[in-house]
């Protein structure tokens, strides 16, 4: 009896492994090195945990695997876990906005709280996948409070992990609405994991005028500036001109009281 049970368990486990290992072609986007400065002048916080290149996206891979889709974002720095998050990385937080239908005007044009961005209506997003070192339940709990009108389109992998220079996590293809990930459009936002966020921010780190120990610099003390260190631009090929396209996308204007005159407006990239 014990042998039979053991046999069933082994067969079940092998089936699960084989099922999860069935995969299709990976869609890859590149991003230039050294453009981790938001609209061009953002600077890193001054605490030693924010090592150079930590927020510099170099590559984004989307890989369907069985009934799941794996999202992997590489950065220009070895990942470290100085805060003991237990998942191989700590300071990064990544938002992957996806336009699954590529229909102008369909989807959301507002960003998530704390990013201070919006999307061009022709590039509105349908789903967003958040790669965070925080536990899935905490991210979703924060999202339910701070973005209740968007919560049904916010996905967080059951497990997000970092190794080497790559952060990755998988969500179910069905939760993304099905379809072919190779046909979708994407925007990847590099932010920083903030365990003690401002009351209205979704676990994101502030960008202020001057950098601080745990906040970025180069922006505005109010929330009229995009809190984004890096993103994909152009065709996502990593060409030098994409740096300028990023800076243009993230252009913003504030009034004297910190109100937004022109909010940074993002486009998607697609193959």
């Amino acid at each position: 009896m014990v042998t039979k049970i053991r046999g069933v368990l082994v067969v079940g486990l092998l089936s699960a492994i084989l099922a999860s290992s069935a995969w299709a072609a990976t869609v890859t986007f590149k991003d230039p090195v050294g453009d981790d400065n938001g609209p061009g002048n953002y600077t890193y916080p001054t605490d030693a945990v924010y090592t150079p290149g930590s927020f510099d996206i170099t590559q984004f891979d989307v890989t369907p695997k069985g009934g799941n889709v794996n999202f992997a974002v590489s950065v220009n720095s070895k990942l470290e876990d100085p805060w003991g998050m237990g998942v191989g990385f700590a300071v990064q937080m990544i938002f992957i906005f996806i336009d699954t239908d590529n229909k102008p005007g369909s989807g959301h044009t507002e960003g998530l709280p704390g990013l201070n961005i919006q999307f061009d209506p022709a590039n509105a997003w349908d789903k967003v996948v958040i790669l965070s070192p925080q536990k899935q339940a905490r991210v979703l709990s924060e999202a339910r409070i701070k973005a209740p009108n968007l919560i049904k389109d916010i996905l967080v992998p059951n497990r997000t992990s970092g190794s080497g220079k790559t952060i990755e996590g998988s969500v179910k293809l069905a939760d993304l609405g099905g379809g072919d990930p190779a046909q979708w459009s994407y925007q990847v936002i590099m932010q920083s994991n903030e365990g003690f966020p401002a009351k209205t921010d979704l676990l994101t780190r502030k960008v202020n005028e001057y950098e601080g120990q745990h906040r970025f610099g180069g922006g505005n003390d109010a929330d009229c500036d995009p809190h984004v260190m890096d993103l994909l631009a152009g065709k996502g090929e990593g060409k030098p001109e994409e740096v300028q396209l990023q800076h243009e996308m993230l252009k913003y204007e504030c009034d004297a009281t910190g109100g937004s005159v022109k909010r940074a407006t993002l486009l998607m990239v697609h193959k």
Binding site: G34, N158, G212
Partner: protein
């Protein structure tokens, strides 16, 4: 010189004071943190598993913290923090109500419980405050005056400081940049904490002006290269007792002076490889003339180095296989007054396990038989601080004197994530009689004695009078997510440590007890009598599951087995001999841990629960020639050379402990 230094600092501050504008803004926030401890040791001396004088495993308590922050003008901001700490603030105290006032003249402290005992009275204290100036000048970015955790620097020089809150150290921090922010600099003056930042855990009698000065330049000339240079200078001064003419002021003299230089560089020549180099040199001078070996710093002046080289290969010819290599050498006499005491992990190796971090696990004292969860983190000081921690936190251990190599391969194959480790450790502290030219040396602090964490060890004791030790560590971690339901997270681990220490390995030290007082020769018959040999095995298996959208649960089992040969019955150094005088521990140690863990998040509230049941046994194994004798009560055992009787019977252990907590930020 001192006046000039103060003048320069004042000019830096005054020179930056901006003209104010009507821009006032105040933000209020805070945290309520509630903890519930339960356990079968029934200790109610504090709401921490391991605190300086107040270990506890029982009771409920609340911490309340209120944070102020804001801007006075565009150029001036501030922050401050008020908080009560757990200490012995049990709910059963009724907020510290009642209790008569009693004063113990012997200790000079209030010993009552209740209203008059500050540890129980839920008092809220000013914990930290800072003012930050951002004047907008070209030559400086900011100046921060007041509390800081000093995380801007480096664990080998000025580490992030945590005693006992993150911002209890204050000072001045000036920060600037140049070359389009590719070059950044920091200059700091940090007031030295008189409680621990000097020989004998003190900075002496004159403390108010003792300080450390730090300077750092970070240069990032190209995207794949960054270089950091650091210097730290600390000085502890005392009144000059020979100056009896007070009409021209009172002279001072240096008690301790420490200078540390550091150079770090990281270079990524290709996408698949990263190279790192860190080099530090300390020049430590003490004039404290201490003879006690209970001290967090050397009792002699010394110069030494610490360095490490890191190679990270992110891609190999095998898909999803990466490898990290670290070669390191931390000098036996490397001394940095403000090196990180806990909040860092300076080496790649996972080191020893916290489960055996209790210095006397067989006595089930301090944090108790179960120790801390998970692996240790290494710090480059023996001024290690594990106080005010709970069992579900990681333990810090000193790596002073360690040298060796660590190789960590990582491989992901069909969803199975594997991470291995192999570490070979040799020691710069391998020596005979500390220093053969000075066999009566008290230069090297012994603290808990018996260098090396593990059975019969101490996490902050790098020095032993006689040592000839090597350690090997091999680890395999694995994790796999089964795609069933919301996903079952399976994980496991196997770890092996082999540690050998020949201790005395020269005949002369057996025959001459007068020049080597650490080892009375009468206790030895053979060089092999004191040899230590530890074979340590650890295994873990567990699973986690997202039970609901808000609730994650995890269960795991850990097995520990340690076969320890800690010398023959002829080897029992007496107390004060430089080796641990705890109970006899040669034999087989088995420990089983069953753990349940839950994390729950609900609209701004975070909840955690960690419950553990441990049981184990110790079977003594008497090495060498011995005779079983009756202790007079019918118990058979062995009479050791120092007269201690050790029963020849298995000891059983059982421990239950639970920590539940909730945190609400507002």
């Amino acid at each position: 010189m001192k006046r000039l230094r103060i003048l320069v600092l004042l000019l830096l501050i005054v020179g930056m004071l901006p003209g104010g504008t009507a821009y006032a803004k105040l933000d209020l926030g805070g945290t309520i943190y509630i903890k519930w401890l339960d356990g079968n040791r029934h200790l109610q001396n504090g709401l921490q598993s391991n605190a300086e004088n107040n270990n506890g495993d029982q009771g409920q308590g609340t911490e309340f913290e209120i944070l102020f922050s804001g801007t006075v003008s565009e150029q001036v901001e501030f922050g401050a923090r008020l908080k009560n700490r757990f200490n012995k603030n049990y709910w059963t105290n009724q907020g510290g109500f009642g209790g008569g006032y009693t004063f113990d003249a012997g200790s000079g402290s209030v010993t009552s419980s209740g209203e008059y005992n500050s540890l129980e009275a839920q008092y809220v204290k000013f914990r930290g405050a800072y003012i930050k100036l951002t004047p907008g000048y070209d030559w400086i970015d900011s100046a921060t005056i007041g509390s800081n955790d000093w995380g801007q620097f480096d664990a080998f020089t000025i580490g992030k400081i945590r005693y006992i809150d993150r911002d209890n150290l204050s000072g001045l921090l000036f920060q600037g940049s140049a070359l389009n922010k590719t070059l950044r600099w920091d200059i700091a003056r940090i007031s030295l904490p008189k409680l621990w930042a000097g020989p004998g855990w003190t900075t002496g009698n004159l403390t108010a002006e003792d300080a450390a000065y730090g300077g750092q330049i970070k240069y990032n000339p190209i995207t794949n290269l960054n270089i950091t240079g650091i210097v730290e200078y600390s000085r502890d001064q005392e009144l000059d007792a020979t100056d009896d003419n007070l009409k021209n002021g009172q002279s001072v003299e240096t008690r301790v002076r420490d200078v540390v230089f550091g150079l770090k560089a990281n270079y990524s020549p290709l996408d698949w490889i990263d190279l790192g180099l860190s080099f530090y040199r300390s020049d430590y001078n003490t004039f404290a003339d201490l003879t006690t070996q209970w001290s967090p710093y050397l009792n002699k002046s010394a110069k030494d180095n610490a360095w490490k080289v890191n190679i990270d290969i992110n891609k190999t010819f095998i898909e999803n296989l990466s490898c990290s290599i670290e070669v390191f050498d931390i000098g036996a006499e490397y001394q940095s007054i403000l090196a990180a005491r806990r909040e860092a992990d300076v080496l790649l190796t996972e080191g020893h396990d916290g489960s055996w971090g209790a210095r006397m696990p067989l006595l089930n004292n301090e944090i108790g038989y179960g120790g801390w969860d998970d692996t240790a983190q290494q710090v480059a000081t023996f001024n290690v601080d594990n106080d005010f921690t709970d069992f579900d936190e990681r333990m810090a251990e000193t790596c002073i004197g360690w040298k060796g190599v660590t190789i960590v391969p990582k491989w992901q194959i069909v969803g199975l994530r594997l991470q291995g480790e192999f570490t070979y450790l040799d020691y710069n502290t391998n020596w005979q009689a500390f220093d053969e030219d000075n066999p009566n040396s008290t230069d090297y602090p012994l603290l808990e004695a018996n260098a090396g964490v593990g059975i019969n060890g101490g996490f902050r004791s790098p020095y032993a009078p006689f040592q000839d030790k090597t350690t090997m560590i091999a680890v395999l971690n694995w994790a796999y997510d089964v795609d069933l339901g919301t996903g079952i997270n399976l994980f496991g681990k196997f770890k092996w440590i082999g540690e050998e220490d020949k201790r005395v390995d020269e005949e002369q030290y057996l025959s001459d007890g007068t020049t080597t007082p650490w080892y009375p020769s009468t206790l030895f018959r053979d060089l092999s009598d004191d040899d230590r040999d530890l074979k340590y095995y650890m295994g873990r298996i567990g699973a986690g599951y997202q039970l609901t959208m808000d609730l994650y649960g995890k269960a795991y089992y850990e097995y520990y087995k340690a076969d320890l040969d800690d010398g023959t019955v002829a080897f029992t150094p007496p107390a004060g001999a430089g080796y641990w005088s705890g109970p006899y521990q040669s034999g087989k140690h088995i420990k089983n841990k069953y753990a349940l863990q839950f994390d729950y998040f609900l609209s701004g509230m975070e909840f955690g629960l960690n419950a553990q049941w441990l049981e184990g046994k110790y079977e003594p194994d008497f090495k060498g020639d011995y005779t079983l004798v009756d202790n007079g009560s019918g118990v058979m055992g062995v009479q050791l050379a120092d007269g201690t009787f050790v029963a020849d019977e298995t000891q059983d252990f059982a421990m239950y402990r639970l920590k539940a907590w909730m945190k609400v930020k507002f």
